[in-house]
Each structure stands twice: as C-alpha cells, then as structure tokens.
Amino acid sequence: MTTRGTGPASGPEPSTPTGSGRGSRALGNRAVLVSGASTVLFFAAVALVVALAPGSGLVAERFFSPFHLWQSLRGTPSEPSVLGAFLLNVYIFAISEVLILVLALVIAVVRGIPGPAFFPFRMVAIVYTDVFRGVPLILVLYIIGFGVPGLGIGFFSYLSEVTYGIIALVLVYSAYVAEVYRAGIESVHESQNAAARSLGLSRFQALRFVVLPQAIRRVIPPLLNDFIGLQKDTALVSVLGSIEAARAAQIYGASQFNYASYVVAALLFVLITIPLARFTDHLIARDKRRRQAGGLA
C-alpha cells in the first residue's frame, strides 16, 4: 500500500449554507410565525373539506348527534350503556395487566438462566415468545375461547368468556412484555452482576436485589407503552360474546341506526389512554434528565 492516498481535504468544498447567517433570533421568530400559519392553514383545510363534503350534514347527525351521544352513553332499556360496558374493558385490563407483569417476568428470567441443565426451560421460553408474538391476538382469542370449552376438561372448559379473553390477552401480551423485560435485563452491565456475586450473593439474590430493580426501572416507559396497546385490545374480547364498550356501541348503532355510540366508545378509550401516554412521556423525560445529570461520574 502506498502511504500517499487521497489527501485529508479531498471532500467537496464546504459550501457556506445560504441565508442562515443572519442570527438565530430572527430565525426563531420566523419559525414561530411559520408554524402558526401552517397550523391555522392545516386545520382550516380539514374543516373546509368536512364542512363542504356532500354528506357532512348526515355525518353530523349520525355520529355527533348530542341526543344519541348522551343516550348511548347511558343506555336504554333495550340497549346496553356504553359507559357501563366500558367498565368491563377496565376490569379486563386491570386483571390482565397484573398477570402479564408476573408471567412475562418469569419468562424473561427463565430465558436468561445459563447452564446446560436449563436448556429445555430456555427453549420453552423462546418458543413461547416466538409463537405468541407471531399469532394475531384475534386468532388466539378464537382458539382459547372456543377451543378450550370444546375440550370438555372439567373446570377449565366451563369458564366465562371474559376469563378466556383475559387468558388470551395474557398469553399474547406476556410474550411482548417478556422481551421488554429481557432488553432491560441485558442493559444492566455485567459488572453489576459480577460485583453482587463477588460479595457472596447467589445468582438468584444478585438477580433479585441488583439486576432486576435496575432493569425494571429502565423499561417502565416501554412497559407503559405496551399497556396502552393492551387497553385498546380489550375491545377484541367482544369476539367471544362479551359485551364490552365496542360491542355495546355496535348494538346501539345497529338498533338505533345511529353511530354516535362509536364516538362515545372511542372517547372513553382515549380518555383513559391519554393520561397513561402523558405519564409515559413524563417518565421518559425524567429518566433522560436523570441520566444527563449522572453523566459527570
């Protein structure tokens, strides 16, 4: 190899960025102006399209009628209340979440146990996450909800459809959450484990007191993100016959020929997921601040 290759300054002539040298304050003011104008324009265009659409009057009546919004929320003697049905979503969510947190942690820990004797356990954990992350939730719901009762195995075949729904949600979401945990566990530096083991703690004690507390702290934001998804997916349990918010809205729509019930159901879901989303953002921001503050070590 020759020593004299291309010179260090062989790249293209650094061009001076045009028109950016006039001070950042002027640019800042202009940015505010542009973003304001663009926001106004955007929403004006959307409003114009909706208002001028040939069916806008019909949509206003079918989806946003105040009477139907209110009536579907409360329910009628012949149609279930969407709000009442939404409580079932909250119930399914609350039970599933706790079970998922536990089951997923077990799977993640099992997957990380070293040693040849634990090979079959690791294999089961890997196959489990592969399968349940790959199969669509709605298929798992059908298979559990209709398959297990069909087996006729005593107690397990005579549970409520809500219970089968919870089982399916737990099976699918635990596979995702286990991967989140695993990422957290692997993000804790090996030296932490080595320090704990050097002090005479057992493998399990090192995991419990040193590795997992740090790992879980790091994965709280992605965990919450998965739970926002879970909250919405509780609506899918309706395919087994449970009357939760989405199904209640459908019943109302089918008998009243008005879909304000769907808007009500959607608003209820948003109302519960937005605080969760803001809380997630808050935790991410706090974590970022803390890590930047800790950068002086």
Binding site: S191, Q192, A194, A195, A196, R197, S198, L199, G200, L201, S202, Q205, F209, V210, P213, Q214, R217, A293, G294, A297
Partner: protein
C-alpha cells in the same frame, strides 16, 4: 511465619477462546502479607484476581484459601466468595441503593445478619473511613474517590480473610488517588492480607511485602519491593520498570 498460608494458587491456567491469559501461575500468600502484582496491561493481573474468587472459573490449577481447596468439586462458590473481598477498578456500586444499603446488602442477604447488626457495623466502618455523612446518599452523588472507598467498605463489611484489589485507583482523577491509597495503607497497617494488582509503582514499593512481576500470564520475577524496583534480575522486569520511569510514574 509458622501460620498456614492464607492463599495458595497452584498452576492456575485460564484461556479466553484461543487466547491463553494465565499460563500456570503459582503463588502463596501468608497471613497479613501484602502482595502487589505489577505488569503491563494484559499481563493477566486482573484475570488472576478474578480467578482467585472464582468469578472467572479456572481452566486448571488449584486455589486454596486457608487450607480449603475452593476449586475442588462440590465447593459452594457463594460461600467461598464471602471470605474473599474483591474491589474493582470501576467501583461497581449498585446505583439504585444508598451507600448504607450497598454495604449491608450482602451481610444481610448472604450472611443472614439482622438489620441492626449489619447497619451498625456498616456505620462504624463508614465512620472509620470518613464517610459517615455519605451514609444515605446514592452513589451518583459521590466523587470517584468516595465511591471507591465505599466499595472497599462494602467488601470489608463481609469480614473477609483476604482482600483482592484490582487496579482500584486506575479510574480515578489524580487528585483522588491518595484518599483511596490511604485507606489501603490503613488496612495493611491492621494486618489485612491483600493481593493487589496496581499500576501505582510508588505505592507498591511503599506498601508491599512482596512484589510479583507478571508478563504474558506468567510470574517472571518476585521478591521484596526494594530488590525488584532497584535491582531486578530478569531483563524483562528491568525493561518494564524503565518504561514506567520514562512515563514518569515512579
């Protein structure tokens, strides 16, 4: 010295893949002796310490601590490690625990010491090393020197019979080195048996009863510091020390 050795290493070999890091190390440390391991980076000092407390399993050879062979079949490594304190270059304090909890975790969980006994002992150690006011802080809020002193206290809280120190000042800013070295001097003064891997040649000369020069996984030369540092027999030891002197570290 009529005592049985505190630590005996016999024919220790260790490879990482095709790379043989320790090529048969023999070393015996008597009680209350301070042995310093010197040598270039990659000579095997750290690996030797990590093999001694079985954090790294040895490929072959024996490790005997107070007449018990800990490399023997069926020995509970967790129990062995409680008797051997090790302090690492990068402190490795647990960042999610206060200083006190860092220190009491192992005594409480591994030795099943009750909370009060563990905390009292931890507090007395912290007081001795001038860290009492840092008891309830988290490690991030401490200077590197303080963190390393806490790491030493954490190892001492297990009442080990021997301490292994792995380049404990290498990650510190120069002005923080002294406070950590003073702690080690104090331990040596109390008769703690120590095996110390270090780049601080001046410190090694001061504190060591014996200095071992490692190169490429072998102990090439050992002896009292006065002899090793002023008239080494092995030309490679001499070359290593000359490089150190040229770098201004002795």
């Amino acid at each position: 010295m009529s005592d049985a050795p505190a630590l005996v290493l016999e024919g220790i070999r260790k490879s990482f893949g095709p790379n043989e890091v320790l090529k048969g190390i023999d070393l015996s440390v008597t009680p209350h002796e301070v042995v310093c391991l010197i040598g270039a980076s990659g000579s095997g000092k750290s690996t030797l310490l990590r093999c001694t407390n079985l954090v790294e399993p040895v490929d072959s050879g024996r490790v005997v601590v107070e007449e018990e062979e800990i490399t023997a079949e069926g020995v509970d490594a967790n129990r062995v490690r409680r008797r051997i304190g090790i302090v690492y270059q990068s402190f490795n304090l647990f960042p999610h625990m206060t200083v006190l909890r860092n220190i009491t975790l192992a005594p409480r969980e591994a030795l099943k010491m009750d909370r009060k006994t563990a905390e009292d002992y931890a507090t007395s150690l912290l007081e001795r090393f001038g860290l009492a006011d840092r008891r309830d802080e988290y490690p991030d809020r401490l200077s590197g020197g303080q963190q390393q002193r806490v790491a030493i206290v954490r190892a001492l809280a297990m009442r080990p019979s021997i301490m292994l120190l792995d380049e404990v000042t290498s990650a510190l800013d120069p002005e923080l080195v002294a406070e950590v070295l003073n702690v080690i001097r104090e331990l040596a003064g109390e008769g703690m048996t120590m095996l110390i891997a270090t780049h601080e040649m001046g410190f090694a000369r001061d504190i060591a009863d014996r200095v071992c020069f490692l190169e490429e996984g072998r102990i090439l030369e050992q002896g009292p510091p006065g002899k090793i540092f002023s008239s080494p027999e092995n030309p490679r030891t001499a070359r290593f020390l000359r490089r150190i002197i040229e770098a201004g570290r002795l």
